[in-house]
Amino acid sequence: MRFGVVTFPGSNGDHDALSAIELGLQQEVAPVWHKDRSVDGFDALIIPGGFSYGDYLRAGAIARFSPIMEAVTDFAQQGGPILGICNGFQVLAEAGLAPGVLLRNANLSFSCRWVHTRVETGRTAFSNGLQPGTVLRLPIAHGEGRFFVTPEELAHLEERQQIVFRYCDEYGNDDPLANPNGSTDSIAGVCNERGNVVALMPHPERAYDPLLGGDEGLQILGAVLRSGVEAAVGR
């Protein structure tokens, strides 16, 4: 499978995503420049973390208008698998490709640590084959990761199985203390209705080698390789 990793001005998770795919997943991968207008030749896209345009207005707000985003949007509409990580989540949310908005962490400070997340549905391109309830230990590193939707929207997301990951304790139990940023209903990751676009705050691409403290991120990155992805996302 051939992955593309989009670099915006200020992206800084692009290098990790490239390494994780190449070294961890051992798949083909290439960078995609924000001024490009095509994503032809890629089977899956990663919108990586970082501080696109310095996050100076709102995280992701300026990047969503980059030339490449039109091609990304088309790719999404055709059912192509897209993973937005951290700042990538923010870009996708600003672009309307992922639901919700991301606000400043409730404790107002940047938070870098390992957290536990629970898989809520295996129906998406990046959770395909994972049993709901599976606990993954992943690093987070963000200052604006408080996922927010209104109660009505939350019900809507629940109903359509668009909640993909929730923060939890190490055993997979709900625990408000395990929610690192005050996100609505401890949501860590969501998807679009179809399930081909997945966006999350934790960093699977930094967890691809036990030497770095864990390799459970590979389960997310690798989910898209499993057979049945097309069926799962109705491509």
């Binding site: 200020g10 800084n12 998770g13 990790d16 310095g54 100076y56 940047f110 870098c112 590193a141 691809y208």
Partner: protein, 732 residues
């Protein structure tokens, strides 16, 4: 025309120095020339007071690829790979505007690293503040920590280690030292040496504003808050990230002959340094410099310290390619001048000549001062105090004293700070902050890793600058050794008070001597550094603080160990048995004193202990190691225990060497000792190894799952309670 005292104060030159300028030039300097002399001959750029002292440092060694003198030092770790690193202060700006001061400090040191062609892979910081009880200090602390994280996180460089210390001496003058480490292909190191008459001088990055004018001179005077008049620099980490990527890409071409970032004294120092180190001249036209503000004159353009700018010397035929790369990264670049053959720095403002001075006048002719130091009688008296004349701690009070120490701001957990720094980005961090005594960062594409740590116990340096200087080097190296790495080189930042005071000069001179002797003994040459003098407020100097940053090499990354012991482990103390409460955190906490002689330091023993621990780790005989620093043995043991574990300790074998005193035994401090944790099956082999290495080794306890710390069959304390105290120290 006679120059006014006022005008001289503006550029921080003495009348004698001014006369030297006139004599060199054979005429009165023009206004811009005078400003440039002021900046280049400031302590900050010219090292007037420190240059003769720095000659004491060992700067060469088999691994040294680039010693002091460039933007950063470089050491060889094999396979053609170099590690570029340097530490720098941003003390004065941080006193005035903590967030931006610290942020731009990080920005500056990162530029130093990528200017060498190295990709930055790790950041460290060494911080000193007054007491957190004061709201002003709290504000400075929050701002500084926020600025370091804000800038480094945005750049995507992990902040992996550092050290923080609080003492009232820093209340009016906090210290903010930032260190950056990068990786470079040894054959592709770029230097700030202009060459090739006719080559073009390109300025790239931010537009030039009035910010930070006289920053270099301002860093060379006392009382930062009062003396500051310039416009505060506001950092733009986003722009720096673009500059970083673009510069590294531009260096992949064959078109660049030299690169120099704009730091203190802005264009002035970068142009002068490029010309002087290349033995060429440079001519630029300030009208070609894009400004952020209208109405700036040549003087302001030359002395502006606007951040995120880089000077690149490019071959004419390569200009188009180079600019295309900058354009691709949305960076603005201007060709502002060219390299000339006459050795002069020539600054034009359109047709008008503003400066025409041999580059060497600014650099080689900078005056230096060797002064006479005198030890302060007050400090000599404090050192002479016999700490063993104090009443010993009673056994009933051990628990309280331990809790108080665990919660002390100088010892407690750094977690609230460290969590605000991105330390997992770049996917190289093997031992993050808090996991080990030093951070371990792997070198992608190899089996190797480096270990890095900053350190300095300023109390020791205050009480005895020579011994304290040795301690700073030994402790930073020891921390690195505790991960299994072999320390290979160091960088340092000399934060002192005014060298013009005999007491201040004494501290500087003695501390540098101690550092130099330790660095020589430990075979860790000094490859880079920075000097920050005049750290005073209200006529009181800060504690002398020669911060040391050490880089160590681990050949096989899989052997690296942290400091967490596992259940069933035997705890052994390698090295020094005897400790003192002289200059200790305990003495400060319990008796409110900074007094007594700091621990002695036997460099031979230090070398043997570090080598022993490195060897034991490399042969996988121990799974955790931790040095005992502030707080002593007991604190160190608790730091090795996960909350669910407990430990049964027996220090009886150390009692006699500590005069039978409980305070020395439990809370005394000492150099050259490391606690190691090993499986019981390894103990015999370790004893043999220690004996061969001539290192004392004593069993001091066992790790169990009781959740209780049990000491010498007398005192029991729940570990979780101690962890609560430990976790509480920096919280509001």
């Amino acid at each position: 025309m006679t120059i006014t005292t006022e005008a001289l104060r503006e550029v921080a030159l003495t009348r004698v120095e001014y006369d030297q300028v006139v004599e060199l030039l054979g005429r009165e300097p023009r206004p811009v020339e005078l400003g440039m002399f002021g900046a280049m001959w400031s302590e900050h750029c010219g090292y007037k007071n420190s240059r003769p002292l720095l000659k004491k440092f060992p700067t060469t060694g088999p691994r040294v690829v680039q010693g002091p003198g460039e933007n950063a030092g470089v050491v060889d770790i094999g396979d053609g790979i170099g590690i570029a690193f340097k530490i720098e202060s941003h003390n004065h700006p941080s006193a005035v505007e903590p967030y931006q001061g610290a942020a731009t400090g990080v920005g500056g040191i990162v530029r130093d690293i990528f200017t060498m062609g190295a990709r930055p892979i790790a950041l460290l910081n060494s911080l000193r503040f007054g007491s957190l009880d004061s709201p002003r200090t709290r504000y400075i602390f929050d701002g500084v920590v926020g600025g370091i994280g804000g800038y480094g996180n945005c750049l995507g460089i992990p902040t992996v280690a550092g050290d923080i210390f609080f003492d009232d001496s820093y209340t009016g003058n906090p210290l903010v030292n930032a260190m950056c480490v990068g990786v470079v292909d040894n054959s592709a190191i770029m230097r700030a040496k202009a060459s090739g008459v006719g080559n073009l001088v390109v300025l790239v990055g931010a537009d030039t504003g009035r910010d930070g004018i006289h920053g270099a001179t301002f860093a060379s005077v006392e009382n930062p808050e009062e003396s500051h008049r310039g416009v505060i620099q506001v950092g733009n980490p986003f722009l720096e990230k673009l500059l970083l990527e673009a510069c590294l890409e531009v260096l992949q071409t064959e078109h660049v002959v030299a690169m120099q970032d704009l730091g203190a004294a802005g264009l002035t120092s970068s142009v002068v340094e490029c010309a002087s180190s290349g033995d060429v001249g440079i001519e630029i036209d300030v009208q070609k410099v894009t400004r952020r503000e209208q109405g700036m004159n040549a003087y302001e353009v030359m002395l502006s310290e606007s951040q995120e700018r880089m000077l690149v010397v490019v071959r004419e035929e390569g200009l188009e390619d180079v600019r295309a790369i900058f354009d691709r990264w949305d960076l603005h670049s201007d060709v502002i001048g060219r390299v000339t053959g006459d050795g002069n720095v020539c600054i034009m403002d359109g047709e008008a000549v503003e400066v025409n001075v041999p580059a060497s006048f600014f650099v080689d002719q900078c005056p230096t001062y060797v002064r006479d130091g005198i030890e302060s009688a007050r400090i000599a008296n404090a050192r002479a105090f016999d700490v063993d004349s104090l009443p010993d701690l009673s056994r009933e009070d051990v628990g309280d004293a331990l809790h108080a120490l665990m919660a002390s701001p100088n010892i407690c957990s750094r977690e609230p700070v460290v969590q605000t720094y991105d330390h997992t980005i770049m996917s190289n961090t093997v031992l993050p902050p808090l996991a080990g005594d030093a951070a371990v960062v792997r070198i992608k594409g190899t089996n190797k890793a480096i270990a890095v740590k900053t350190d300095c116990n300023p109390r020791y340096v205050y009480l005895d600058p020579y011994v304290g200087g040795m301690h700073a080097v030994a402790e930073a190296a020891r921390n690195v050794s505790c991960t299994g790495a072999k320390p290979i080189a160091l960088t340092n930042c000399l934060n002192f008070g005014s060298p013009e005071k005999p007491e201040g000069y004494y501290q500087l001179e003695r501390a540098v001597s101690g550092m130099a002797d330790a660095a020589r003994a430990l075979e860790t040459p000094v490859v880079s550094g920075n000097v920050s003098l005049y750290n005073e407020s209200g006529n009181e100097a800060v504690f002398p603080t020669p911060t040391v940053g050490v880089v160590g090499l681990i050949e096989d990354v899989s052997t690296a160990v942290g400091m967490t012991a596992s259940s069933g482990a035997v705890l052994l103390l390698a090295g020094q048995h005897s400790a003192t409460i002289g200059g200790s955190e305990y003495l400060k906490q319990r008796h409110g004193m900074t007094a007594g002689a700091p621990p002695s330091l036997d460099l031979d023993l230090e070398i043997r202990v570090q080598k022993f621990v490195q060897d034991a780790i490399a042969s996988r005989m121990v799974h955790a190691a931790h040095d005992t620093s502030e707080g002593g043995l007991l604190v160190a043991v608790i730091e090795m225990l996960d909350g669910s574990l407990g430990s049964a300790l027996d220090f009886s074998c150390l009692a006699s060497e500590n005069g039978g005193r409980l305070d020395r035994l439990y809370f005394g401090e000492a150099a050259s000792r490391i606690i190691i944790a090993a499986a019981p099956t390894q103990v015999e082999a370790l004893r043999t190894l220690a004996e061969a290495a001539d290192v004392p080794l004593a069993e001091i306890g066992r790790v169990n799952t009781s959740g209780v710390l049990r000491m010498d069959d007398a005192t029991s304390i729940p570990i979780l309670d101690l962890h609560d105290s430990w976790a509480s120290g920096l919280k509001r």
